[in-house]
Amino acid sequence: GCLYKLVVQNFKSYAGYLEIGPFKDFTCVIGPNGSGKSNLMDAISFVVGVTATTLRGSRIADFRSNLSTASASPTSVSLFYRGPEKGSGKFDEIQFTRTITSRDTSEYKIDNKKVDEKEYQRRLKSIGLLVKSRNFLVFQNEVEAVAQKTPKQLTELLERIS
């Protein structure tokens, strides 16, 4: 399967409603310093359930766009996942959505139906996204640290994956 497209609404520097995609097998995100590239990675991390403290923020409210061009809708990100091709161009498609409520909590939906966080995480795991291990996300300036982990940290990393 793959990440097919994203829909981002009032998330950090992404004001208003934006559809981003489709993503190819090897997609590069480019743009000048401060344009919003890492914010896009934060959006992907947010929708798969990564906690706020990992994403340069301390509270969930930090993800709400503070721009004047932001719209009144709540901050939310949707990830459209496409399963492996089933023959004759047919795919399974799942839409994962995470929204910030007015009380600064998170609301989770799968194909537009509300679910609790446990169910959301279970379904992500079923397609191979183990959010706890985060082995599929490498944030800015973190790559060298992967090779310099202490022996204990490496064991912990493999423990989380297994």
Binding site: L3, I30, L67, E142, V143, P151
Partner: protein
């Protein structure tokens, strides 16, 4: 628990050297045609998850040195090899990397992009990069720029596979 751990460890240990060789070999240079070598070793054989795991790499043509003495670029390549080896155990549908090429010189950028191109159909890659030599090898681009009046991010997508001859 111990069984699961061993299974994971054995898998990663088994493929790390091959992945590192693929990432570091340079077919155009005789002395680097094979690439370097990489090892994972357990500090405590009996109860592996009680103790640590040591990761060592030897860049092509060099002697063994502790990981701390390697250069910035050499550590980045070692880290990417470990990352791909771990990912091959329980592959996520996609991987997102943010400017992992920052410390790489032109030759290592070429090796890393060649490796990513070779595995992109098994695991989708979304990579943020500032280097032309890196992103010109992608299938598609997502360009982001800041709107002068509103300050928000504008997004454009470009399907590079249409320009197969052009960019390459």
């Amino acid at each position: 628990r111990c069984e699961l751990f061993n299974k994971c460890f054995d898998h990663v240990k088994g493929c790390i050297d091959e992945i590192y060789k693929e990432l570091t070999c340079d077919p155009t240079k005789v002395e680097q045609s094979v690439g370097g070598s990489a090892y994972l070793t357990l500090n405590n054989q009996e109860e592996p998850y009680m103790d640590g795991i040591k990761y060592d790499t030897i860049p092509p043509g060099k002697r063994f040195m502790d990981m701390t003495h390697l250069s910035g670029g050499e550590k980045t390549v070692a880290a990417l090899a470990l990352l791909f080896a771990i990912n091959s155990y329980c592959p996520a549908p996609f991987i997102v990397l943010d400017e992992v090429d920052a410390a790489l010189d032109a030759r290592n950028v070429a090796k890393v992009t060649r490796y990513i191109q070779s595995r992109r159909h098994e695991q989708q890659c979304v990579i943020i990069s500032l280097k032309e030599r890196f992103y010109e090898k992608a299938d598609g681009l997502v360009g982001i720029c800041r709107d002068i009046t509103g300050g928000h991010s504008n997004v454009f997508t470009l399907d590079l596979s249409m320009y197969e001859d052009g960019i390459q």
